[in-house]
Structures are given as structure tokens and as C-alpha cells.
Amino acid sequence: MAYTEEELKKELETKEYEYGFYTDIESDTLPKGLNEDIVIAISKKKEEPDWMTQWRLEAFRAWQEMKEPEWANVKYKKPDFQDISYYSAPNKKPKYNSLDEVDPELLDTFKKLGISVDEQKKLAGVAVDIVMDSVSVATTFKKTLAEKGIIFCSISEAIQEHPELVKKYIGTVVPKKDNFYAALNSAVFSDGSFCYIPKGVRCPMELSTYFRINQAGTGQFERTLVIAEEGSYVSYLEGCTAPMRDENQLHAAVVELIALDNAEIKYSTVQNWFPGNKEGKGGVYNFVTKRGLCEKNAKISWTQVETGSAVTWKYPSCILKGDHSIGEFYSIAVTNNYQQADTGTKMIHLGKNTRSTIISKGISAGHSQNSYRGLVQVNSRAENARNFSQCDSLLMGNECGAHTFPYIEVKNKTAQIEHEATTSKIGEDQIFYCNQRGIDTEKAIALIVNGFSKEVLNKLPMEFAVEAQKLLEISLEGSVG
């Protein structure tokens, strides 16, 4: 019997969100609401030094004066910030030396996610710092890294053990008053990762963090700080998945990258948070501020595969401050059902001979809205700046939307800016062609979408690329029509 699109849709509608389960782990959770006492309590729980507490309070006070941004092409019910609990930690136990000490239920969660620490340990060259709710519970490969002088730990640990580094760099790329969500994050961030690569060191493995939101009603506020000293190199992977949830979960992360002279940072993200159900109910709100600073001759590449979240607001950016520095942004954003994504990048050319590349692939299906928003800014002193931008949109069906908002501000005549944009649709003829070769419709769509996304997928580290490809397929299941 011919498998019609209608039947395909039906079947997939009942498919539960792959990782939509909930782990019942005893948690240490602060009461809902946000005020100075809560900010202080978070800082206390983290046993932070006073300067950190004060920094948070300044951010909080600034945040109180700020308004939620409304310029993005997304519509959602504004979160009630007093109805969120800002801190939750799985179990009281602060650290684990071996897996045996870890809550078996937690290990079970990892298994369901397909990222058992066991497996990850075996995966050559990948050190995993898993963030379960807000506190890191497992860190591996630390020793190998330590031998090279590389620091890879939770931000809380860094605040205690490397306060001079944190103090020097935190908030230098994303100031605590940068925007509404960055200010909120600065006030209440409870965990995240810290990474420091010493001068001249090439990090021998991909550093990888798996994020996970777990506690009902807990917003997660990750803070990540990556510092690459002169002439160093690091590739950092970030991936996540979340349990099925009815209420909206707010997520407002801040990531700051600092690439000093001749350093290179590759930052790759696969984002798969619960996108809401097929009626658009529930799902994660993902309001992220990611920004990197390039000193002389430095390079920062952002690569992201965004398939999850109900609402995404995210613009990984590069400040090309040093002469000859390079910024890259490679992105695949998939929206299905009622998902909304407003994502893109900012490339700020300050130094001479700076170069940036933007490759953005948006895939929209269902009733979703997918917007690319990008700014290329060339300052007056940025002689010979070059930018190439390519924004491609792929549409599936007639009810979704793809939008492109490129902003170009050039204050130096020597700049060379190129912008290309295409919009295409998966055609019946393409699908029939594949069908005729024995490839069913679902597989055909996966093939076409992977082809469309190839330039970006190719930028991901191998093990991540495979995972990302699978994610694309899962996210678009049932979207034909």
C-alpha cells in the first residue's frame, strides 16, 4: 500500500519526543522568584568570593531597569520571571571521582540520552564535562589536559580556583549590561564551563559539554568562558537535549570567547531542546548571547546546528578587533511545527585586513517561522575588510516562513562585502526521483536536507557531524506536505 503523506504525518505525530523523559532526582532547589536575596543566595551556594557576588548584584540592578527586547521576529508569551526558580542542583554531593559514586538514576539518564559517560570515556579524544541541571557532575580527561596546563572545568570551580582569570575576563566580551538576557544571566548564572588554553598550546582533544535542563520550572542560565592565549588552539563542542515538559522553560545562556593574538577557537553547538509539541505547546525558550573577541591574527569559528527550542533568539558574533583576524559563522537552523527561530550573527570589523564568512542554512517546515538576522559592520579604521555572506532557505510546505534580514553598515570604502541569498522548496519531483530509485519519502527528505546543509555539516567535528545529521532527520520527520 502506498504510504501517503497524510499517513506519514499521522504516524509521526504520535512519535514522542525522543529524549522526552524526566529524571526523578532529589534536588536542592531555591524558591521561585527573583530579588537581591536570591542573587546573594545563589552566590552563597556557590561559595563565591565577594567580588563575584557584587558583580552579580550590579547585573541584577541593571536588569531591573531593562526591558525585554521585542525586535526579534518571534511571538511568545513573556516569561514570568518571578515564577521561575533560579537555582537547582542534583544531589548534595559536590564532586565525583569515579562513576561508581554517581547516582545510578543519573547514569541511567545519560544512557537514555545515548551519551553514557562510559561510552564517552572510550570515545578517543573527547573529554566530557556534563552539566546536569546546573552543577557539573562528571569531568573526564582532566589529567591529560592538566599536563598541558589546560583548564577545563565548571565556571563555579573556576571562580574558586582561578579567580584571577575569571575576574580578568568575565564580562569583557559580553558586558553584564549588554542586553536584557545577558544581564539576567550575569545575575543568576549557576553554572557553565570554563576553559583556558595556555600560550602556544594546541588542545589535543575536542572539549565537549553536554547540557541538559532537568528540573521542572527551573530556568537554566549557563555561563561559558573560553580563553585561548596567544598562539593556542581549541575546539569546543556543546550539545544538549531536554526532557518533555508542558510549561515553558526559559534558557538564557551567555558564552564569551577570547582569542588572543594568533589563537584559534572553534566553537560547535548542536542544540536539541524540547521544541514544544505539534500544537506549539511547551518547549524551551532559548535566548542566548554568544560573542567572541579576536585579537591580532586570531580566528573564531562558530558552527551551530539548531533544531530544538520553541523560540530561539541567538546571534553568535565576532568582534574582529585585531588586524588580520578572522570570524566565521556556519549555521543550520531547523524549525518545524510551531517553532520560531530568529538567529544569525554579527561580524564587527574593527581591525585592518579582517575577514568574515557567514554561511546560514535555514530549513522551515510545518507552521514554523525561521529568520536569519545578520549584521556586517565595517568600522572606519578597518581597511580592506572582507565579508562573504550566504543565506539559503529551504521550505517544506506552504505554511512555514523564511525571512532574511541582512544589515550591512560600512564606514570604510575599501571594504568588500558580498551577500548571496537563495530560497528553495523541496519539490515533489525531487521526492519522486528519489522514490523511483527505491528511496522512501522520509529518507528522501533527509537526503535532500543533508545535501542542502552539507557546507555547514562539513565544518563540524566528525563525531558531531553524525549526531547532527541524525538530529536533522528526527527534527523534520513528518514535515512533508
Binding site: 502506498a2 515533489e428 526521483y433 528519489c434 530509485r437 537526503l447 545535501g451
Partner: protein
Amino acid sequence: MLKIKNLHASIDDKKILKGINLEVNAGEVHAIMGPNGSGKSTLASVIAGKEEFEIKKGSISMEGEDLEELAPEERAHKGIFLSFQYPVEIPGVSVTNFIKTAINESRKARGMEDMPANEMLKLIREKSQMLDIDRKFLSRSLNEGFSGGEKKRNEIFQMAVMEPKLAILDETDSGLDIDALRIVADGVNKLRSKDKAIIVITHYQRLLEYIVPDYVHVLHDGKIVKSGTKELALELEEKGYDWLKQEAAV
């Protein structure tokens, strides 16, 4: 192998096929000729299972099994292959990746494991040599920026790799120069065997000098108006289609 009985097919209530009868046995090569718009590609699409076309009357069966209930990919798994008149582009999907996916999906449908990589490599190498296709071509995006001739050669390459039971070649000769035509025809002839069948759709008899058919049918206005042996193709070449149209009108 293939039995078509009194087939009527429409699209958006426009009648295109108006009572086709055709029987193709294993080992045979049939040519279908006819002027533009007579329904040749429609017939090929209907056999391959394109859902836009609605079968109003009649039946199509393959090895005794009614095809109407089968999805296009299931027909492909049964060994039906269509070389498209206008092959579509799939950006970012290499010829190799596409062929690999097609082979493995068909194997999966037959309960087989994926083809081992070295076997796949050998197969692709052998067939690409046969069709004089160079390696660079294999890494290009499927049909993207291909010349007309390259597209057709790629179709026949896929056919050679898939080794279908029933191959339908829709205007494979158009866009090919004489050398390419010879190479492609050789490739098709290699597929000829007593348990396989081929339907060659063309409106010139040129291709039929290289792929010599056992039977020739002339399609006009959705009906087969004349059938014969290979000499009929020559006769058509000489007289054009008009005399048949007149004959059909009588």
C-alpha cells in the same frame, strides 16, 4: 513481465492515457515512439507510480502483481527503473552518495544488509568505466549544473549499477552526441538478458540503430495506434507521424 490492460490515466481531470494495452516479456526490448505530447512520459511515470496521475480505468501488473497498490519506491524495489527525460537536481548530494543510498535502501527493502564499502566501490568503479564517466563526476552534486548529455549518462550509470528487471528509458538519446550515444547504447545493451526487459521511449529512430528493439509501438493521443517490428521505426522516420495520425483518425 509487464502487463498493461486498457489503461486510462488523467491529471486534474485531463485525460492523457486513453486505453493503453501493452505486454512486455522478459528478454524483450520494446520501443515506444510518438510525437511530442502523445503521452509517452506520462506512461512511463504511471508505470513508475507517480501519484499525480490518476488511474481511471484498466490495470498495470508486473510479474502478476498489481502495481496500483504499490508506492513508487516499492516498485523500484521490485526492479522497475525509470531513466528520466528531465532528471532533477539535488544540490549537495553527490552522485556517489545518491547511488549508495539508492542501493542500500533497495537492499534494506529486500531484508539485506548494507552493501560493504569495498563491494560498492568496485561496482561503481566498474560501471563508471563502462560508461566512460570520470571520477570527478562522481563527487559532483546530483544533476546540478550537468549538461543535458551528462544528465542522461548519469541516468544510465545509475541503471547499470541498479541492474533493474525492467528499465524504461525516456528520451535518453536527447542531448547526447553521437559518441556519447554509442557509449550509452552499449551500456544499455549490456543489460539485455533473457530475464530482463527494456522499454525505450524516443521520437527519433536514431537510438534504435544502436539499441535494436524487438517491437515498436507508436503512441498517439494517449493510445497505441500501431505496433510492429523494428522496420516500423524506419518507416516512421521516412514518412513522419502525419500518416499515422490520419490513419488513426479514420
